[in-house]
């Protein structure tokens, strides 16, 4: 049995490793981007000088040999599903028994005039990083378009090189499609206190203007303002890489459409990670969840199926995290960007610092749905345990101490949340459990 995986990102590697763990199948992992798996989430840290490219590679070179995962550095142009063969750009071909597509995403472009000029790009691949590095040499001013996670990373990257950035965000507050207004506003403030990043809310890109060499020289906003710049970062989201769908006859919508076993419409071809689109996502969940954790979670599930043990992919309780300049963010469970019908939010914010905790629960039953944290770390196992066990908000609050995951000696604020809840609900709860590992185990074993 020969399992061929196209893509060596977290989704592809996760499949390869887990197939190896439970089988002796021969495994080939193909990438045109890099010889070895590296952590895409660490792109920004290479540019900022925190890490070298090697530092971002989670496995040493001998790992692949030892685990008999055959690495191929080639570009796949075509899939011949009938003959179960893939074809490379250099004319070579390779047969497969099972094919896994883990081709990831690419940056969105919305047909802006000038979007293909030199100095205009997104930031997804190692290639993107290298060209960003090249353009940085004579860069006096950069513009970043799009208020998402990659956009703010790019702004921070230029900031680290002392290159002034204008950051265009279409929404009237940063990432407010995901974040509730208070948290979104906190991020606005975090960006604005970072000298050198000029955040422009409610501002869109209209046009990118070239110089005589075909490189960007300025942009024009929807308000008609011309901003001179030598680089434009397009970070208005990503979309799945589905170029291979056509040749293989794979049904696609935005991504490769997959069933609950992660199989595409073509037999023995599967898709995982950013490029995969679930035909039937769970209630309240998106069909494409283009985050690191999706790729990581799909791997072990698909590995079971690939070795003959058909296993359904069930979307785990949602969690995610990010860092906005110096502001850390974590979310566990279901937290929407507004208070929806039938739910209540307990929101506490530090009066001066950028720290907040939001607990979302069902108004009628009191069952906790989610946690949203800014500038404070919470313990994943405890939060997910409470959510999955439908714990009541009052019980959560009384036991909130051990949920805190900040380093030792950090100030804790759990009593503030209890106080706030009492105030708002005329209750008289007390924080019963303090932050300690013993108490964590007590909760997890209850």
């Amino acid at each position: 049995m020969h399992v061929v995986i196209i893509g060596n990102g977290i989704a592809g590697v996760s499949v390869a490793r887990n197939v190896r763990k439970i089988s002796d199948h021969s495994i080939t992992m193909i990438s045109s981007e890099s010889d070895f798996h590296w952590s895409r989430t660490a792109l920004m840290y290479i540019y900022m000088g925190h890490m070298t490219f090697e530092n971002t590679q989670p496995y040493e070179k001998h790992f692949w040999k030892k685990n008999r995962i055959n690495l191929v550095r080639k570009y796949v142009t075509r899939i011949d599903a009938e003959n179960k063969t893939i074809h490379f750009s250099d004319g070579d071909a390779m047969p497969y028994d099972k094919l896994v597509l883990a081709t990831g995403s690419q940056s969105n472009k919305f047909g802006w005039p000038g979007q293909d000029l030199a100095g205009v790009q997104g930031m997804v691949s190692y290639n993107d990083l290298q060209s960003m590095e090249e353009y940085s040499h004579d860069l006096k001013h950069a513009v970043v378009v799009g208020g998402g996670l990659i956009g703010i990373e790019m702004a921070e990257m230029f900031h680290s090189r002392h290159i002034p950035v204008t950051f265009l965000v279409r929404e009237d507050s940063f990432w407010n499609g995901v974040m509730p207004p208070e948290e979104s506003n906190m991020i606005n403030r975090e960006i604005r206190m970072t000298h050198g990043i000029d955040l422009r809310l409610k501002t869109e890109l209209r046009e990118i203007l070239p110089d005589e060499h075909g490189r960007v020289r300025a942009i024009i906003t929807n308000e008609g303002e011309e901003i001179p710049c030598q680089f434009v970062g397009l970070t208005a989201g990503v979309h799945p890489n589905v170029d291979l769908a056509e040749s293989a006859g794979i049904e696609k919508h935005r991504g490769f459409l997959i069933d609950k076993y992660l199989e595409t419409s073509v037999k023995d071809i599967y898709a995982v990670g950013d490029c995969a689109q679930l035909r039937h996502p769970a209630d309240g969940r998106r069909p494409i969840e283009a985050v690191w954790y999706t790729g990581k979670h799909m791997g072990p599930v698909l590995a079971q199926t690939l070795v003959g043990n058909q296993t359904e992919y069930i979307q785990k309780t949602w969690f995610n995290s990010a860092k906005f300049i110096n502001l850390e963010y974590q979310v566990y469970g279901d937290v929407a960007n507004k208070v929806r019908d039938g739910e209540r939010h307990l929101y506490w914010e530090h009066p001066t610092e950028h720290k907040s905790v939001r607990i979302v629960y069902n108004a009628a039953t009191g069952i906790v749905q989610g946690f949203n944290l800014m500038g404070i770390r919470y313990r994943s196992d405890v939060c997910l345990h409470w959510i999955e066990n439908q714990t009541l908000v009052e019980e959560v609050l009384q036991n909130l101490g051990p949920a805190n995951f900040d380093p030792e000696f950090f100030k804790t604020y759990e009593h503030e949340l209890v106080r706030l809840y009492n105030e708002q609900n005329g209750a008289n709860l007390k924080l019963k459990r303090r932050k300690s590992l013993r108490n964590v185990f007590a909760i997890l074993n209850s």
Binding site: T41, S321, D381, V440
Partner: protein, 531 residues
Amino acid sequence: MSQVDASLSLANPSPRHLNTPQKVFLGFVGVGVTMIFLALFGGAAGREALFMWTIIGSFAIGGIGYAWSIYKDEAAGIKNNWTWFFSESNRGTLGWILGVAFTAFYIALYWFPAWLGLNPGQANTGLIAVFDPLSMMLSGNPASQWFVYGTFYTLAILVMGIKFIWKYRHSAYHVLRTVSIMFFQTAFAFLIPEFMARLNHNPEVQATGASIPYYDLKNMWPLNYYNFDDYRVNSMIDPELNSLTGNLGFIMLIIGVASVFVISPILTYFFGKRWYCSWVCGCGGLAETAGDSFRHLSDKSVKAWKVERWLIHSVLVAVMVMTIAVVYNYLFKQGQNFWINHEVFSMGVAALMIGLTVLIWIRPKLFGTVSQDIKIIASGLMVAIAGFTMFSWLTGAERVFFMEPYALKKNYGFFIGAMFSGVIGVGFYPLMGSRVWCRFGCPMAAILGLQQRFFSRFRITTNGGQCISCGNCSTYCEMGIDVRAYAQRGQNIVRASCVGCGVCAAVCPRGVLSLENGPNTGNSRMEESRY
């Protein structure tokens, strides 16, 4: 886009621009360095105090001012921008120059103190003479090369400690532990021993013919491998001296023995070895402060980990053999003067060695992940040590291991005490990272590490499945632990070498890691998260 590129930074992307305050403060440092060179060549003769205070002052003002000038406009948070771009911190030209300079200084210090101005039997000259005024002030003695070294060492920990606190000011953990390091260095390693040395000028003390040994109380055996040498033990147990000083010597001896056999096991059980390695120890103190800019240069490979385990445990065996030899020989010569004679000592050593060996084999769960080979080697060594000691006692031999104890000690002092811990340990900061000694050589770290690995409540907790494998934790681990390898599979980190500096938890952009003490010990600390 070749993978061979060491990093994108090969062609230094944007050269460093120093602003005016930064230039001025670096200028102060330059003045200090220049004055040192002038002093080395006799330029300070007759102006020692002026040189001394100018050197100290310019390093203090320059170092603290530079820290202020680079961090004052930055919001609190992680400050690793450009770390791999700067020549001094990416093994570039400046890094090599620094490495060679540090190494040269240590070579002079250990083997050619005359270069620094030490003239046995005569007044100091050169750099050492410059520090006579301070030494006279503290202990009443002229300076030695060790006093000069201690002064620079303390100055480095204080100045760079302030820089470190500034850099990590968002983290109470880092602020507190750095204050602790600065305190222990200044008080315990520097001032207290000097003040105690002052007591030796007291005519009554001098009349006893003994003197209070120079003793940094927190510097415990086996890091302080000479702690139980004849001359030190003799002065610590001198009855006349003890009656004069309120049993100061006895107290020192008791602290010396208790710190390794009682105090450190208890503290390590509760908090891990960090209580010593990154809160108290001077070697660790220098690594955390002056060495902070080089922490990412440690080798993270599995191969390096293997070398580390063989090397550090070999040093541990060497120091044990040496100390047993020295103490046995000393007690043998003392005959039946004390209730601890060489017989009691031999039995004690044998009991400890055999006891540990038995523990390895009757409690296999405690050592679950240790390979059979290692267990056999460790047991073999311990049984051999016990055997040699018992054999010497039973045959009435004067020596253990058939070797002259002071020849052993001399070799240990040369290869381990001087070359490894000093020349390589600090000299190679800019090339191999700041904890070379702590990681590969320190026998104290080895003992605490074994305790931490098998019998401690300490672990670094991984926060469920939140790891994004970015690699910041592994990169900035000064001990070369591949933290990410554990974090990305949702597993807690329990490693003998972890000094608990807490930097992995600080640099993690997703809040995945936290240093914690809790109920579990042994391997149960390492279960994988189910999320």
